[in-house]
Amino acid sequence: MKTTLSEKTFVSVLYVFLFILVIITLYPLLHVLWASFSEPSAIIAHKGLLWKPLGFSLEAYRLVFNDPSIYIGYRNTLFIVVVGVALNLLLTALGAYVLSRKQVYWNNLFMFIITFTMFFSGGLVPLYLVVKGVGLSNTLWSTIFPFAVSTFNLIIMRTSFAAVPDDLEESAKMDGANHLIILFRIIVPLCLPVIAVMGLYYAVEKWNGWFYASIFIQNHDLFPLQIFLRKVLILSSTDSMTGGSAAGEQFQIGATIKYATIMVATLPILFVYPFIQRFFVKGVMIGAIKG
């Protein structure tokens, strides 16, 4: 087929337009990157778009890495992600396994109890009172236990467990396997792609979560990374890092510290992102087809 003139115009306009969209998407991230390496005074004086670092200074990074808060934040966030996701997956798999068995009489009731929570919830204050009431406030568990199962994920996992052929389990049962062995030796390996995707989703949610930590945790040693970020970015407090400097200097370096902190807190996700992107995309598909 011949490429007509209008076809050529269409393609050029399309490519240029998408290129502009890509630049708009990337710009804020590049701005942070350039600003984090710039001279603080130059950044304060600068107005408008930033296409390259203004001068070069690593002072902001030095101050960020000298502040123990960021290590505390990383440690707590890692704990929440690792332990939280392990618990998420374990409970989701247990629930999905039982709910995908056909011979269990009470399963219909269980399904009702579980799906009902997707449509109605007690709300913020009642949840807050329950979490306080069971003694979880001011512990990292307050960001783990109250969110141990996502109902949506549970239903998706149940569907994929139910699709495992029965004869596989039957033959395992003949060999004397119990439910735990069937679940972890047969079903989990077969459904590993779904479970992996779900683990990634749970992990991102935990990594980025901040709200419940902000209402349940008051102890600084238990602050996850995002709460520390909130202090720097939203409450604009960089005192913990610039403690020793004079007031004017503090103000100046504060301008670039924000950016350096964003880089330090976001780089791990952006580094991992290219490798796991396709799994997430797969996850959207699973959700779309089965959800």
């Binding site: 998408l18 247990l94 269990v104 009489y105 109890i113 204050v125 439910h179």
Partner: protein, 306 residues
């Protein structure tokens, strides 16, 4: 089945499936403690709750908190703000991923396509705190967006202090963060369109725009309709997490929505019963809208949530 036989069946089921029921126990415990106990806690919306007296011991006040809310100045304000943010998202944010998917779908070069996709999906994974921090920084006086806004007549003061700008800032940043990611589902639907149709259209001399209009868009329609109806069901469900990171008392007039009001009253001002009442009002409306949307979806598209 007669009664004793049914009883025997239940016992047999409990005994025979005992390990399965034991496996289910932690999951059920989770739902009872963290979902059903708060539902029971909703009772405090009808009481004057004080922690000393507990839920049962606190005195009943019937609909006092609801009346206070409906008669207050805040009721119309938060309702209006919630609806407006929802409607504006529906108008501007909802079509964005559709348009993006249509554009990406027209790209023939696989590598260019992959670059565009990877980059536009990325902001979805950046944490809300960072996004809100960037918005605050860019819209502050001297910030990037503020400087650009000054070309169009801005006065250079912080844009988040200007109540007329809150909704555009909120919606545009949502589009920036989510349009790429949300385009995935449309791209998946596009992959299912029969390629033979395009072949036939080309032979008939239809250009690319005509093909988009007559083949691609109709092919996307079922997905668009379902997602649109689901969105309608969430009309009063505007999350507070991003809003409370961005707003300040100066712009409450446009920025305060029901959920942020619930948060402020309940967790910052400790008006627990009042906050729960407002939250319950919101949940009930949400549930009604969802049921309605689902009913419409069943009628229109034959597909529904339940």
């Amino acid at each position: 089945m007669n009664k004793p036989a049914f009883g025997r069946f239940l016992i047999k089921d409990l005994v025979g499936n005992r390990y399965l029921y034991i496996m289910m126990l932690p999951v059920l415990a989770y739902y009872l403690i963290f979902h059903y106990a708060p539902m029971y806690g909703v009772l405090i919306a009808f009481k004057d709750y004080s922690p000393m007296k507990g839920i049962l011991g606190s005195p009943w006040v019937d609909f006092k908190h609801f009346e206070t809310f409906f008669n207050s100045y805040y009721f119309l304000r938060v309702l209006k703000n919630t609806l407006l943010i929802s409607v504006y998202s529906l108008l501007f944010e909802f079509p964005a991923p559709i348009i993006l998917a249509l554009l990406i779908n027209e790209v023939r070069s696989r590598s260019y396509k992959r670059v565009v996709q990877s980059i536009t999906y990325m902001p979805y994974f950046i944490s809300m705190i960072v996004i809100a921090g960037l918005i605050r920084d860019f819209t502050d006086s001297g910030g990037v967006l503020n400087s650009i806004y000054m070309y169009f007549g801005g006065d250079g003061t912080s844009m988040l202090q200007n109540e007329g700008l809150f909704r555009p800032i909120y919606i545009l940043s949502e589009i920036w963060q989510k349009a790429g990611w949300e385009s995935i589902i449309y791209l998946a639907a596009l992959a299912g369109i029969d390629q033979g149709q395009y072949e036939a259209a080309r032979i008939d001399g239809a250009g690319r725009l005509k093909q988009i209009w007559h083949i691609t868009l109709p092919g996307l329609m079922p997905t668009i309709v379902i997602l649109f109806i689901l969105r309608m069901g969430n009309l009063l469900n505007v999350g507070f997490e991003k809003i409370i990171l961005l707003y300040n008392p100066v712009i409450y007039e446009t920025a305060d929505v029901i959920s942020s009001f619930v948060y402020r009253k309940g967790l910052l001002e400790f008006n627990w019963s009042y906050s729960t009442a407002v939250g319950l009002f919101n949940s009930v409306i949400n549930l009604t809208l969802l049921i309605l949307a689902n009913w419409i979806s069943k009628r229109v598209t034959n597909s529904s949530l339940w």
